[in-house]
Amino acid sequence: MLVARGDSPKYPFTKDAKEYIDQCNVSVEELATIEYAQIIDRAEQRIEEALINGSVRYESSLPDVEVLSFPVAIILVASIGDDFLKRRYALAEAIRAENLLKDENNDKLMRIIESYFSWRIKKVSIAQNQPYEYCLSFIDYIKNASVFHEDEWKLVNKMVIGGYVFLRKNDVARLAREEIQKYIQETVEKTPKLDLPKLLNQRIERINQILTKRKESFKMDELPKTAIIAAYPPCIKKLYDSLLIGQHISHIGRFSLTSFLLAIGINTEDLLKMYTSISDFSESLTRYQIEHIAGKKGAGTSYKPPNCSTLRTHGLCLKPDELCKGIRHPLTYYRRKIGKIGMTKDE
């Protein structure tokens, strides 16, 4: 067997690692033989760690096993084909890489990022009173950081000069995690479901058991069947009230309200009645719009209500109250408020 070199065991998704994996040229049938048992064990472990701990450890003692178990784990995850598992596994591997990247020196971190990502990133010479070590093209920055919720990650709270965002090392590693997670998830999606040898199927059986348990613990509380107006967040309540008194609501406002009401379980017909009875909206157009948002028209994707950040951007977040603090989505507000005002599912 070839020996995995350099950083491949740490970063098995890089080009170097891929080359090594290709050179090893192991078929799926061979994997099931005793010779590769260690690799299969580690692959299964990787997935188990992802499910239970949310991150995968770095096992440095057997570099070859550490590299080769990665593609095997991908094959297993793809074969199970569960979306929750795919996401969770990609995230856990990405966290593993993030933690390793944080411990690399600046040159090494740059090398890994440059050779793997197409990011435009530069090292910043350390000057007095400035804590930054890197600057990253703001385009690459927002592609990865726009999903973060903390204030400090918002572009508006960063130093942005000439198209570059100034960052510390840990920030770069955290952003790299996003890119790696996306990459791994895409790889899993692209990997075909293979006909696996029996031995591997047993492994899959075991993973499936853990998966079922984990999924149960993540299950969200169901929402009550009827809409509880008293639990609407202030932004939605304002839109709802405007609708009731026939005031003009902007397009984005109507979209937010409709998608929210659909999400809490109001059906298309009731919503249509609500819209048309209190104003002179045309029934066919309103029906089209509601059904479009519900995913019954067009591309078939149902639209989720915008999150708090988007509502803020469009000036729809008005008078947030105590409960709004620390909440990122109007549906979370609704759920919590219901809990607070003591409504149960049967009410």
Partner: protein, 412 residues
Amino acid sequence: MSTDVMAFIRRKFLEYYSENSEKIPMPTSLPNREFGFVIFRERMMVRHKGFINGAEVKAFLKSMTPMDAYYSSAYYERPEEHMENKGWLGADLIFDIDSDHLQTPCKSEHDYWICESCQNSGRGQQPELCRKCGGSKFKNEAWLCETCLEAAKAETQKLLSFLQEDFGFLPQDIEICFSGHRGYHVHVENEDVRQLDQVARKEIVDYVLGTGLKVEFHGLMEVGKSKIVEGPNLFDPSWNGRIAKGVYDFLKTSTPQQIEEIEGIKSNKSKKAMEHRDLILKSWNKKARWGALKDVSFRTWVKLAEYGLKKQTSFIDTVVTTDIHRLIRAPFTLHGKTGLKAVSISLEHLKQFDPFVEAIAFSKGTLKVNVNESHKFRLGNEVFGPYRQETIELPMAAAMYLLCKKAASPVE
């Protein structure tokens, strides 16, 4: 508008397109853009049009003579298909600064509303419900206004500082357009921005509008045991400098009452700040010594900074920039509400740009019109009006403006 007036406007528009269509620049990647037009006869938007080349677009402008012409900021594989089948390939980054959304003091003079059910009308902001019939649907109209367009231009200039200094876009990536009516559009066209999704574009919007900005991330803080206030300098880059400038500008121009109006600032604090105003302003030109005034607390500085930064933002339309399928008015086509043309303006020229001169499309001849009612307005170097129920011969551009605004009709 009567069909006669509409037919007249359309004839003039046809004249314009017949004479000028060769000079109308075409967008890049034309075959991948969706076009949309408002057609005179139906007065409705025709979308999902695609063209192979510029000659086809020009031929269309001449044969159909639309009231308004738009193309998509987005690129598609199949621009003529319905939205879900178009195959989105990317989109330019666009900004819209509309003076309708700016808080200018002249709104009550030139904005008016018409109740859709009883045609009752009035100046300024529309009421919640019509006082005459209780109706809730209104049409909003506005006259062209120099103050508003100057305000929109100032917002555009601030936007350009964000685009160039912060985001590093090059002059050749940026196109500025006067819309032909109430505002300015800015298009950024380069490979990097094309692929940005709505969420990423939202971050750009929030940056330009200062949404979610926390001053503590821009160097405003208390340092050490003695809690000396430190903050950014006037000439710092990025938002740091803008925050310092916001406070500086505010102190320079405000009265103690204005300072007290900021929520959370007590009168003794504002007096302190005012007493030392000259000292603060003078010293800040070198280095912003936020801590030099021990009497002004950190909390007060934060309040001042949060207030002051609002004027440093650029008031862009949030929906336009985050919409990755948006249609935007095609430069050098006519605006159906004014008879002016949308014009693109070079970065260097923006400051001197005069929309009331440079956007004139109909510069030849005069027309006798019956004016119902019109405000005072300038077009070219002449001032017109106000008019009320009178017949008057006007230069063609001024006449067309009143016709398009439905305020006049041609005398046979």
